[in-house]
């Protein structure tokens, strides 16, 4: 009963008062930024990163994860109530959730989406608990050559899935790796790429890069292109679904959960893809597909369940292989690195309290979200009207103080401003900053393992092809490029079909 043992450890960790408190803070902040216009989970995590330095690793990751799924949950709420997807993966929820709200069934849609999420979350945790022992055993098989190939695979796969152009996104990863080489070379002790500045001898501050690329660039982008405002026109009547609703919804929830759990484990496919796929599946097997888009409860239940299941099972590739789904998770990996924890299969064996504590806290957080959201949904929705012009000076100020507080170095503020300019330029050029951050996080480990692998093989690069695991990783990377270099057909097709 190793599984129960792990889960018990997880809940023991998650229920300590301090972790419970940070879980609540995370869920609350996540919901808040999920409904506030112009500030999302990525900006929030970037903004709070400096303050997680002084927190224990478990508590900081629990809080950041709370922000992530809290914002996600709030994204579905605004999708249903206002037809405004707070997060990309809630676009699907708009399709049937908002029509339901217009028919006066907003409460039911919210309730089904919450129940679906919670159920899927529970299943996701069980899936992780079942698979984890295999993963931690596999960590014994991973030596420097395998680790090198794994990082290359992680960088390539997380780059190509987000891109319009695979070349420029892989270039972003490479640029991140280069930025990671700035500072003192670990094995020779000499300074590299410090450009004559002694501020850079410890490397480029990760917090400065994250703040610049995500928070500052985001602010600049929002001021330049003001977002559309939405008016609240729908009201919530009853939260409790009828027996018929439940009968229509439970199977889609099961199917969505299954799909999501599988998609989450596959590296590189985020919640976005799986919510589209599960929506398409429901529509395919429905007796009367014409109801979809007009308030079909299945169209809310299945995608919501699937992307929540995926968000949880995604912790396996994220912590186990270092492959995050999207920028928010990349920043969470960064927070782990700051705490001195390198992603890889050894995370589960080396830091079981962290892994299981965070997983358990996600379930607790989901319950908190139910309590936090359903009774107060009207209150949250009202926050949508806070004008952005009042928000962004606060974001800027908090970021500046945060960046400075890490090393008490003014230089880091200038660095963040520089990366803000760079990030804004890249945003305009459709180059996503996520791969750059991941490259910066994984780059030093890549260099170190490459060095060791070639030392082991006496300089013979064929070691990466003769080790079966390493070969498999590299082939997987090639497969990712081949599959994703073409336009994303699944997403495009389903968007076209729904006419959105």
């Amino acid at each position: 009963m190793e599984i129960l043992e792990h889960l018990r450890l997880g809940f023991d960790v998650a229920f300590t008062p301090i972790n419970f408190f940070y879980c609540l803070v995370g869920a609350f902040l996540g919901t808040l930024v999920g409904v506030l216009p112009g500030i999302g989970p990525v900006t929030t995590i970037a903004m709070l990163l400096p303050f997680t330095f002084k927190m224990p690793a478990v508590a900081s990751l629990i809080m950041l994860a709370g922000i992530y799924y809290g914002a996600h949950h709030a994204g579905s709420t605004t999708a249903i109530m206002l037809n405004m997807p707070g997060e990309p993966s809630s676009i699907v929820i708009c399709l049937d959730g908002h029509p339901m709200a217009r028919q006066g069934r907003a409460g039911v849609a919210l309730f089904i989406s919450a129940i679906g999420s919670f159920f899927a979350g529970c299943v996701g945790v069980v899936v992780i608990a079942t698979l984890a022992p295999f993963l931690s055993e596999s960590s014994l098989l991973i030596g420097p050559p395998e680790y090198t190939s794994m990082i290359i695979m992680a960088l390539v796969s997380s780059a190509v899935v987000v891109s319009k152009s695979p070349l420029t996104t892989i270039a972003m990863s490479a640029l991140g790796v280069l930025i990671g080489t700035v500072g003192t070379d670990v094995s020779t002790g000499s300074w590299r790429f410090t450009f004559g500045s002694h501020y850079l001898t410890d490397g480029v501050s990760f917090v400065a890069v994250a703040t610049g690329l995500f928070a500052f660039a985001e602010v600049l982008d929002h001021i330049a292109t003001p977002a559309a405002r939405a008016e609240l026109t729908t009201k919530i009547n009853s939260l409790i679904p009828t027996r018929e609703d439940m009968r229509a919804a439970w199977k889609p929830i099961l199917r969505g959960t299954g799909l999501g759990a599988i998609f989450g484990i596959l590296p590189g496919t985020g919640p976005l893809v799986c919510s589209f796929v599960s929506y398409a599946v429901e529509k395919q097997i429905a007796k009367d597909p014409s109801r979809f888009g007009k308030g079909a409860i299945e169209g809310v239940a299945a995608p919501e369940a699937s992307n929540n299941a995926a968000a949880i099972t995604h912790f396996i590739p994220m912590l186990g292989l270092g492959i995050p789904a999207g920028a928010a998770m990349a920043l969470m990996l960064g927070a782990l690195m700051i705490q001195g924890i390198t992603p890889g299969p050894q995370v589960m064996t080396g830091h079981p309290d962290l892994f299981w504590g965070v997983v358990a806290s996600m379930l607790i957080g989901n319950v908190m979200l139910l309590v936090l959201n359903l009774p107060m949904v009207g209150l949250w929705i009202r926050l949508l009207k806070v004008p952005y012009r009042l928000l962004y000076p606060a974001i800027l100020l908090f970021c500046c103080i945060g960046v400075y507080s890490v090393n008490s170095q003014v230089f880091d503020i200038f660095l963040a401003a520089g990366f803000g300019a760079l990030g804004f330029v890249f945003k305009r050029l459709d180059c996503p900053p996520g791969p750059l951050v991941l490259g910066m996080i994984l780059g030093p480990a890549l260099e170190e393992n490459l060095r060791r692998a070639l030392l082991m093989s006496r300089g013979d690069a064929s070691i990466f092809l003769t080790s079966p695991i390493s070969l498999a990783m590299l082939l997987l990377a090639v497969a990712f490029i081949v599959v994703f270099a073409r336009p994303k057909k699944i997403i495009k097709a389903s968007v076209v079909v729904e006419g959105q």
Binding site: S165, L167, T168, I170, A171, A174, L175, V177, L178, T181, D185, S187, T188, S190, R192, F193, F216, V219, L220, I223, A224, R389, L390, Y392, P393, A394, L396, L397, F398, C400, I401, Y404, S405, S408, V410, I413, F414, A416, A417, G420, A421, F424, V425, F426, R428, L429, D430, C431, E447, L450, R451, L454, L455, R458, G459, A461
Partner: protein, 148 residues
């Protein structure tokens, strides 16, 4: 431009990657490269910057071939200068003039375009935010920063 660039975004991105890669390549060469068995500090950056330079060239070539035209939006220079100027101003003033002055400069500069249209709101916001961060960071968390 002489060529017909169909994707301005990819073209510009390619140029940026190529230039950064080339700069990094040149400075990698100034460190000891070493061999595959005994890598010097320059070895790994040299390899990666070669890759980056190559990807930059690849993007430029690809941008000439893409079918759908993709033109860059105009750059919002005013927002750019005032927001980042505010951040730099904050950095310049923080240690010499203290948190209050630095924060005021940051907020007023980044709100510059609205200062005349909504002077009262902007000034109130400035005062409120300064009070808030002083309370949280200096008095609450004991951050070693002078207020003025």
């Amino acid at each position: 431009m002489k060529f017909k660039v169909s994707s301005q975004r990819e073209f510009t991105a390619g140029l940026i990657f190529f230039s950064i890669g080339a700069i990094w390549l040149a400075s990698s060469l100034s460190y000891r490269i070493g061999t595959a068995t005994a890598m010097g500090p320059g070895y790994f950056p040299l390899v990666v910057s070669l890759i980056l330079t190559g990807l930059g060239i690849g993007s430029v070539i690809r941008s000439l071939k893409i079918a759908e035209a993709d033109v860059l939006d105009p750059w919002p220079l005013v927002a750019f200068v005032f927001v980042l100027g505010g951040v730099v101003g904050f950095g310049l003033l923080l240690e010499s003039a203290g948190l209050i002055a630095a924060a005021a400069v940051l907020i007023l500069l980044s709100c510059w375009s609205r200062l005349r249209a909504r002077p009262v709101e902007t000034l109130l916001l400035t005062a409120a935010l300064i009070a808030l961060v002083s309370g949280i960071f200096v008095f609450g968390l004991g951050m070693p920063v002078d207020l003025y």
